[in-house]
């Protein structure tokens, strides 16, 4: 018991030290930025105070939450589609060697296809519609998910599937209690790298063919040469992404990994 208490207090001290470093580095960044802005032309590099004022103004008019919200919806839709289709393809490829042999070269092709090409082709083929935008983003992400999930499906333990057969688990119980928990770490990895990729591609899609969303706003402010608002949107967006990581992804991963010591 005493050793456990000792370990807990060490982690607490660790956490405090980390938080201090984190806060310190943010303050330093603010200082460097302020200093640079002091010497620069405010049209090119506004001060952090001005940028945060712009964020405040954007929130007050409701413009910023609206466009960030639209972008979030696109991210969610294309992410879910990509995870679902990519996982299905990846698991099939990992479990079924003929399927893998056949589709391996396709996968390589799509992995190396530049995102911009997929986006342009989707807009040309399907028109400047929401469905085309989401399809384009999902298509960019599917190969990455498939590759990760294929590794997961290959790593499935034969011992546990034998156990499930002996105890007549049936398909559903085997999937839910034996297969899915083994795939969870790969799912988490695909989610992490997936979100990071999807954010960025959604902005490009919005810039090229949508009339709302963060990408569209950035394009607008680029035309107006409004660096303050470009930085305001960028920072607001980073904050939202970090909040999702902190309040959704990390708690989920912790609960899934509870059984690991």
């Amino acid at each position: 018991m005493s050793s456990r208490a000792g370990a807990a207090s060490t982690t607490a001290a660790d956490g405090a030290r980390r938080a201090a470093w984190f806060a310190g580095s943010l303050v330093a960044l603010w200082a460097v930025w302020s200093l640079a802005a002091y010497f620069a032309d405010p049209r090119y590099l506004p001060s952090p105070a001005a940028v945060f004022a712009a964020i405040g103004a954007g929130v007050a008019t409701g413009d910023l939450p609206y466009h960030v919200g639209i972008t979030l919806l696109r991210v969610a839709a294309s992410f879910l589609i990509a995870m679902f289709i990519g996982s299905a393809i990846g698991i099939l490829m990992g479990r079924w060697s003929r399927f893998n042999l056949f589709f391996d070269s396709w996968l390589t092709l799509f992995l190396n296809l530049p995102a911009l090409v997929t986006i342009i082709l989707c807009y040309i083929w399907f028109g400047l519609y929401e469905a085309a935008a989401i399809t384009a983003v999902a298509l960019n992400k599917i190969p990455n998910v498939a590759v990760t999930m294929r590794e997961g499906a290959r790593a499935l333990s034969a011992d546990y599937s034998q156990m499930a057969r002996v105890y007549r688990f049936g398909r559903w119980r085997t999937f839910r209690h034996v297969t899915l928990p083994q795939l969870a770490p790969f799912f988490a990895a695909a989610t992490r790298s997936g979100l990071a990729l999807v954010w960025k591609i959604v902005l490009v899609v919005e810039l090229l063919g949508r009339s709302n969303g963060v990408g569209f706003q950035l394009y607008l402010y680029f035309q107006q040469f409004d660096v303050t608002n470009i930085l305001a949107y960028a920072i607001a967006f980073i904050a939202v992404v970090q909040a999702i990581e902190l309040f959704i992804l990390q708690p989920w991963e912790r609960s899934v990994n509870r059984w690991r010591r």
Partner: protein, 254 residues
Amino acid sequence: MIALEVDIAAKTFLAEGRASHTAIRDMRFTVDHGEFACLVGPSGAGKTSLLNIIAGLDPDYDGVVRVNADADRLCYMFQSPRLLPWRTVAQNVELVMREDGAREAALRLIDEVGLTKFADAFPGQISLGMQRRAALARAFAFRPSILLMDEPFVSLDESAADGLRSLLADLWRSRGCTVLFVTHDTREAVRLATRIIVFTGPPARVAHDIPVRLSTEERADAAAIEAFRARNLALRQAVAQPSNGEIRVESGLV
């Protein structure tokens, strides 16, 4: 009445498409309903191959296995516990039950194997001996008609293994299923079995079939077990060795 009938002409493993290793040859035996049969043979004699065939995990063999019992309740307890590490002890037991009120029944069995305090622990948090107890609870939660067991108590210290043996003997007596228990330890076999089938190998085949009629008290008595071994097992091996000339393999038994 016969519960299980095994007649395997050959089980051969292939390497690069060619027959490379014969694990079982001409292995024939039957097990009666309610019997506790111990298959005793040296390590590496094809025991796990045999159980995989009987459990239906390996369809690739030459011969017949007939199950004259509820085949859907044929259960196999592996050498390693194979509990799902991401489910708690109670969940692991509950998962194999299909009846209503599975949770309560699972907890009763967990209590019977002495794991009540660890019902909500994950398998990685308890010792191997406790994991084996949980695996035993899971096997009986399945209400097996026939229970196959593959050296389920190896790599435990003697007192932990013996605790598990008494537990198994109790569960078998109260639940009344047919058990086919594989081991290389003749003491363990005499302690538990109503019948010992001695086999040689590889390739595995039956050498002797010895009934064990000992009382519960005698089974708990190390001297009685030694006496039984001296009377039945050592003697038969001495006779068997010159006749089939497999001294190297059979000496592993004593």
